[in-house]
């Protein structure tokens, strides 16, 4: 049977050799550690007991050189494991981030953005330390155990049997923990996601929480999640706490039995003092090995549940992919953008269609406006035009070619877009505008800002273009943000501009100026607006209701044909008059 490697482990592949080399090297250290008690037995029984100081000194020298040799080799192994863990963590985080950029908005929302963040922050970290612990500890404890067992058998078979029993029973304790933990850990992680998304909500809604005086309620709700997190963790701790005292019990019981055995046998001369000392030393080694092993298991357990989450994320395949055709026709006599009977639903077939049977076209430099009640599917229609989503039925054509066949980067370059959200990144005014077309000159940036009616306010800052912008433009007003986003789209200079109610925070004068400038530049425009005033000059206005075009035409035509449109217009006029 051929199994595909789990995606979270793929980044480890280049380091596979090192991954097993390091633990293999550690075997040398184990060997030196195991031999030491064996030699000590001779020092005591043959050297001390018989007064042979020379033998004792010689063997002592051997022990010491073993210690140094083991140390040197271990250093190299530790270097390897630190290196590999860091390299692996690096590659894994890179892969996660790349996946974040490749997946479509729809996929990210479905998966959960908070969950994706946790995968990058704590899950990848758990995997990284899991690999580190694996390399450092995977061979050492079991070989210490097995070696101690074998050597104790050599000393006395009855001691060996006691050993075997101790090891088996300890393994049983570990088994319980290994079986119980992962199941509990999944629920704990789910709870952590809840805490994370609550904290995110509260950060975004800080003003709302205060304005509604709901601080206490939020705190109570949050405490509830925290309490449940604590309880679930303690449900796991009940088992995890067994490991250390349980192994202690078994090992010490073994030790007592060895002494008792020595007592039984001393008369018969089976176990010498040296043998007892080295047996006890082996038992102590075993105890240490088991403690180490339990630490490894806790860490690997954590890594395993993180691995599941990372795998689930990494095995998502992007649903919006590059087409074969790499070139977009420079200019064409056919339409710039055309929708042919396009429908879209979010989920499986049979789900409610958000968009149904939409057909329209937009010429080079043409302008189409969309208006309609909230929830009528305007934004979804735009995301189909931008190929942020693919239609469930029908085609979206750009310059006569199905968008799914076009090269995605080329298509995106040909379509400027301003979302409803203030998509500004931490940086400066300059860096944010430059995202429209990296490499543009300063003059071009300034021109774009001027065209977007933003230059005036940028000039008011001493640092002008280098004025800092916070995440999401938190330090700017709504109108400033929108104008900055428009400037970015201007700089892109694409033949089509898609605006999703992106002028809503601007006053009418400013909006008018910006729209005029667009026309001067001959850019095609697909505009969603809730203001009739903004739409008057459009070549065609689509009136959307429940995902369908309920009426279409120029402003005048619509006034004549569509009662709904006229109603909006009249209401606006009426309240004015």
């Amino acid at each position: 049977m051929h199994r595909k490697a789990s995606p979270s482990l793929v980044p480890l592949r280049p380091y596979l050799f090192k991954t097993f080399l390091a633990p293999a090297l550690k075997l040398f250290e184990v060997a030196t550690e195991l031999l030491t008690p064996f030699l000590i037995r001779y020092i005591i029984d043959e050297g001390i007991a018989k007064g042979n100081m020379g033998l004792a000194l010689g063997l002592g020298g051997v022990i010491l050189s073993f210690a140094f040799l083991g140390f040197g080799i271990t250093l190299f192994a530790q270097y390897l494991s630190s290196r590999v863990a860091a390299d692996y963590g690096h590659a894994l985080k890179g892969a996660i981030f790349e996946k974040m950029t490749l997946l479509s908005e729809g996929q990210l929302s479905r998966f959960g953005k908070d969950k994706a963040t946790t995968i990058l922050s704590s899950d990848s970290f758990n995997m990284q330390s899991g690999v580190n612990m694996f390399m450092r500890l995977i061979f050492r404890p079991p070989f210490l155990l097995i070696g101690s067992f074998a050597l104790s058998f050599l000393i006395d078979y009855r001691a060996g049997i006691i050993f075997g029993a101790v090891i088996l029973l300890s393994a049983l304790i570990f088994l319980v923990v290994i079986l119980v933990s992962p199941r509990k850990y999944g629920a704990i992680q789910a709870n952590l996601d809840e805490i994370s998304s609550h904290a995110n909500d509260s950060l975004r809604g800080a003003r709302h929480i205060r304005a509604f005086n709901q601080e206490e309620m939020e705190e109570a709700r949050f405490s509830q999640s925290l309490l449940s997190y604590e309880r679930k963790n303690m449900g796991m701790a009940v088992y995890n706490a067994l490991v250390s005292p349980g192994t202690f019990f078994l090992v010490d019981l073994g030790m007592i039995l060895v002494v008792y055995l020595g007592g039984l046998a001393e008369g018969g001369g089976i176990l010498t003092t040296g043998e007892i000392v080295s047996l006890i030393s082996y038992l102590t080694h075993s105890l240490q090995a088991m403690v180490m092993f339990s630490r490894l298991i806790v860490s690997l357990n954590k890594a395993m549940s993180s691995k599941k989450r990372i795998d689930a994320f990494l095995s998502l395949t992007p649903d919006i992919v590059d087409g074969d055709m790499k070139e977009i026709p420079a200019e064409s006599k056919v339409n710039l953008l055309e929708f042919q009977d396009v429908s879209f639903s979010f989920g499986e077939k049979g789900d409610r269609e958000v968009i149904s049977g939409i057909s329209f076209s937009l010429k080079e430099g043409g302008r189409v406006g969309l208006i309609g009640p909230t929830g009528s599917g305007k934004s979804t229609l735009l995301s189909l035009a931008l190929r942020l989503r693919d239609p469930s039925h029908g085609k979206v054509l750009f310059r006569g070619i199905d968008e799914r066949e076009l090269s995605l980067p080329q298509l995106h370059r040909a379509e400027g877009y301003v979302s409803q959200k203030p998509s500004l990144f931490k940086g400066t005014i300059r860096s944010n505008v430059l995202l429209g077309r990296p490499g543009a000159s300063e003059g071009e940036v300034i021109q774009a800002l001027k065209d977007a009616e933003a230059w005036e306010y940028v000039l008011k800052w001493d640092d002008g273009l280098d004025h800092p912008v916070e995440e999401g433009g938190a330090n700017l007003s709504g109108g400033q943000r929108q104008r900055l986003l428009i400037a970015r789209a201007f700089l892109r200079g694409s033949p089509l501009l898609v605006l999703d109610d992106s002028l809503s925070a601007l006053d009418y004068l400013t909006e008018r100026k910006i729209l005029d400038r667009l026309r001067e530049r001959g850019m095609g425009l697909l505009l969603v607006s809730s203001r009739v005033g903004s739409l008057r000059d459009m070549d065609e206005i689509l009136f959307l209701e429940d995902g369908r075009i309920s009426a279409r035409g120029s402003h005048e035509e619509l006034l004549e044909r569509s009662e709904g449109y006229r109603e909006i217009y009249e209401m606006q006029r009426g309240s004015v008059a």
């Binding site: 690096h90 001393e266 305007k378 995106h412 409803q420 995202l435 999401g472 004068l509 809730s530 309240s575």
Partner: protein, 578 residues
């Protein structure tokens, strides 16, 4: 004896709330269980001696009964210790997250506006867990280590003071080695935590704007920048890991050297038969060697834990810095029974010193009036709302309520009187019903439905899979307009004395807006209201229209007065319908 960051540990005290009694039991259990565990080799050694002396064994002597008692005691209390340590750790996690959350709720809005959200969440998730593994579990191991060392020392001195002295004198060598390494590590751990957090913050920002990232093909560029941050993190991670992994082998090496010395000296004392008045038998040597390794092991353990503690201290500092963020102070506690007249006297305000955004805003006392704020984008409308709701306070001048500056009331008292819809609508993880009933959690389903109906939101809500019980949140597929309607319903459920609408309908279509108009009129009936809108049709009926530009009032009056005046307002107004 060991370099521990005591200040950080002392700082931990507020996080131990509710677990102080547990702390006592933890310490008791670790002392008794460790003592019992360590008594076993002592008794075992005596048993060996006894066996050797008598030359026979077989019968269950008192020694073996004692060992059995110690074994059971050590196991049970050892379990208790483990369990309690987890419990305290979990309580600290809970308390730390709760304190972080509290500071999020109580810090000035400015702090939140200026901070990175990804970073905050990272502290709450990752750093807090680090505190548990490092500071709590770490300190527990530390405690266990210290108790072990003390008890072992007692047993060793009672067995052979000369050997004990050698152990005690030489062990610090292994300490010095690990201390030197962990001191070196501390800064790498800090570096790792920092670069990790930068990484996550960067990714978060991209996730939140994923549509723009795709439409602008920012993927490659962002991957490049991420790689740079990631590369930094790789270096930090390697250094931190390498440093941490040096400690164990280094101390193990030192310990085997010490062990070798012990065997030689021990052998000598046995062969020489009671030198310096030390009675030392072969059975004693075996228990002594057990103690010597028991004595040194905790040092290993401690040095192991030290690097975790270092990492945790770095995390703790980051958490504690946020927890200690200045709380918003109340500036007065005058009673506010009824929100009467609202006025303003020469209010001035700047977000950044020297850059005034509001330049002398005044308002004659208004009660039960509809006031509208209009003006070009960026003229300071939203800032004024921020000031009235006291998200920020003016640099000079004041808003007054009932003739007293609003700073003389408690913030919550003012906000209780105000119902507002803010520009950026907010939907949190919860059902539609919970979202609407946010300001009045006790509201019945009927009330919620009624509010939704009046907010024109009922038709789309009823089409959701589970109606009012549908779970919604930041990532759900609601449009901006739908989110806004839910925010409107939230306010319609309340009966505030002052109503503030900041672009409440900017993403809502005209028809819905017109229908909403009726509900808004009913809400504002007889109450003081402040409406910000650029769709001027919505504010023509206002009692007072204030026209702002660049933070200054340039015109004010009723719609008719302003139209007659033929000034800025008129040009704004005509632009809409030309």
């Amino acid at each position: 004896m060991k370099k521990l960051d005591f200040r950080a540990i002392k700082g931990l005290i507020p996080y131990l709330k509710g677990s102080k009694r547990l702390l006592f039991w933890t310490i008791l259990s670790v002392v008794v269980s460790t003592g019992s565990k360590l008594a076993i080799p002592y008794v075992a050694g005596k048993a060996v001696n006894e066996i050797l002396e008598r030359g026979t064994g077989a019968e269950l002597s008192l020694h073996f009964i004692l060992m059995a008692i110690f074994l059971v005691l050590g196991t049970l209390l050892g379990y208790l210790f483990q369990y309690l340590t987890s419990l305290i750790g979990q309580k600290v996690i809970r308390q730390a997250r709760s304190l972080l959350y509290e500071s999020l709720l109580l810090c000035p809005i400015r702090t939140i506006d200026e901070s990175s959200k990804g970073d905050f969440v990272n502290r709450m998730l990752v750093d807090v867990e680090n505190i548990q593994t490092g500071l709590v579990a770490g300190l527990a191991s530390f405690l266990e280590g210290v108790v072990t060392i003390l008890v072992t020392m007692g047993f060793m001195f009672s067995l052979n003071w000369l050997l004990a002295l050698i152990v005690v004198v030489l062990t610090p060598v292994s300490l010095l080695v690990s201390r030197a390494i962990s001191k070196f590590n501390s800064k790498h751990f800090k570096g790792q935590a920092r670069s990790q957090s930068a990484l996550v913050g960067y990714a978060r920002e991209g996730l939140e704007n994923s549509e723009t990232v795709r439409a602008y093909e920012l993927g490659e560029e962002r991957i490049a920048e991420f790689s740079r941050l990631n590369e930094e993190n790789r270096k930090d991670a390697f250094r931190a890991n390498m440093g941490a992994s040096l400690i164990n082998p280094a101390t193990r090496l030192v310990n085997s050297l010490i062990n070798a010395i012990l065997i030689f000296v021990g052998a000598a004392t046995i062969i020489l038969e009671t030198p310096l008045g030390i009675p030392f038998l072969v059975g004693d040597l075996s228990s002594f060697l057990t103690y010597a390794s028991n004595y040194m092991n905790p040092f290993n353990e401690i040095s192991n834990v030290m690097s975790e503690i270092d990492y945790a201290v770095a995390s703790f500092r980051r958490v504690d810095a946020l927890v200690r963020t200045a709380r918003e102070e109340e500036t007065g506690d005058q009673e506010l029974s009824r929100a009467g007249a609202l006025s303003a006297e020469d209010v001035r305000f700047s977000y950044v010193p020297g850059k005034e955004v509001i330049r002398g805003f005044s308002l004659a006392p208004a009660e039960g009036k509809r006031i509208a704020l209009v003006g070009p984008t960026g003229c300071g409308k939203t800032t004024l709302i921020n000031l009235i709701l006291r998200f920020y306070d003016p640099d000079s001048g004041a808003f007054l309520l009932n003739g007293s500056p609003i700073t003389s009331y408690r913030r919550s008292d003012i906000r209780k009187k105000v119902g507002m819809v803010l520009q950026d609508s907010w939907i949190f993880q919860g059902t539609v019903r919970e979202n609407i009933a946010y300001g009045k959690p006790e509201a019945s389903l009927e009330e919620v439905k009624e509010a939704a109906r009046r907010a024109q939101a009922s038709s789309f809500i009823e089409r959701l899979p589970k109606g009012y019980d549908t779970l919604i949140g930041e990532g759900s597929a609601l449009s901006k307009g739908e989110r806004q309607l839910i925010s409107v319903a939230r306010v319609l459920l309340l009966s505030p004395e002052i109503v503030i609408l900041d672009e409440a309908t900017s993403n809502i279509d005209m028809r819905t807006e017109a229908l909403l108009g009726r509900s808004f009129r009913a809400l504002m009936e007889g109450k003081t209201s402040i409406v910000v809108a650029h769709r001027l049709s919505t504010i023509v009926e206002s009692d007072l229209i204030i026209v702002l530009k660049d933070g200054e009032i340039i015109e004010q009056g009723t719609h008719r007065e302003l139209m007659e005046r033929n000034g800025f307002y008129r040009s704004l107004y005509s632009a809409q319908f030309e």
